[in-house]
Symmetry: C2
């Protein structure tokens, strides 16, 4: 199973403000342009998100997703927004292994940055698709949390939209999922 | 006079590591590709940099620039790396006003992020050209320091290089230099 971190960010690499809000995206949600979201969501069969992202959705609306979802949290809440949601305190490795065993092929890591970081560092993130809004907000939730060491990504494509959004797609040089968990960017055969 | 912040950044928006180093750029300095630097440097006639950036150059080599340079610092050092360097504790407004009066037309704001922030917030930054390396380093010197409020940029172009660098050019929606210093992004006529 592949895991893709598909996310929108400010130019200064914040995916949300300090309260978890994404008002910075408001100017880019109008019109017919979906920045490839429709094609992307059609390609995934399961969602993975962190507790903070789930809590933000819970506090701000109804559950917007039709796909089975894993919420990674040390403390599962008493109630759930939808039957399609499972809570787990398992590691990225255990989650990916279980989802692969269940037949899933492509997970969307919805967020947040700390969860993306944990998957990156564990070697279970395969693609990063970041849409950079032409905005600087100065603080908030970081795109990758505080990563522990330099990590190389593999550039695939970049595209500028009329709205000012720039979408960049990267691969992650990492061991194959379920085979050699370890530091991404390090060739396990080397 | 126009001011351009031409800078390289990691994907997580750090322009240097915590020590000021830019080792993350090492993989991208080889070969014939200059990422437009030659054309850019030929278009500027004065440099502006902060004390931290100057100190890093001072500690790590000889003075690499042929252009007159303003180092903005509250405490000018006793010695200077080159006769072409002036130290000043003036504000962005005063510096831009003085450089304009001296006939300069295009300044390169070399860095760092806090200086870029101060020019942005004062309304004296006109263009941002950021080359994003396909790298995550998790911490260091931020692209724009800690900005005080959301700021909109005007997307101009994006280009991906074979090396994985993605260069994005923005304009800054700000009052005309020397006319209406104030919050960028706010139409002074509105």
């Amino acid at each position: 199973m592949k895991v893709t971190y598909y996310v929108a960010s400010t130019l200064d690499a914040f995916i949300a403000d300090a309260d978890g809000g994404v008002a910075f995206l408001d100017p880019y949600g109008d019109g017919d342009e979906d920045y490839g979201y429709g094609a992307f969501i059609a390609s995934v069969d399961v969602l993975i998100m962190g507790r903070g992202t789930y809590r933000f959705v819970e506090e701000h609306g109804t559950w917007p997703y039709d796909l089975p979802t894993i919420v990674m949290t040390a403390n599962a809440p008493d109630t759930s927004m939808a039957e399609s949601i499972d809570f787990t305190s398992d590691s990225p490795e255990a989650v990916v292994t279980a989802l692969s065993a269940a037949g899933h092929e492509h997970a969307w890591l919805v967020g947040g940055g700390e969860l993306a970081r944990s998957f990156l560092l564990a070697g279970y993130l395969h693609y990063v698709i970041v849409s950079i809004a032409p905005t600087v907000i100065g603080g908030g939730i970081s795109l990758f949390g505080g990563a522990a060491y330099p990590l190389g990504l593999e550039f695939k494509s970049a595209r500028g939209y009329d709205s000012g959004m720039v979408q960049i797609e990267y691969g992650v040089r990492a061991p194959a999922v379920g085979e050699r968990p370890g530091r991404p960017g390090v060739d396990p055969s080397g």
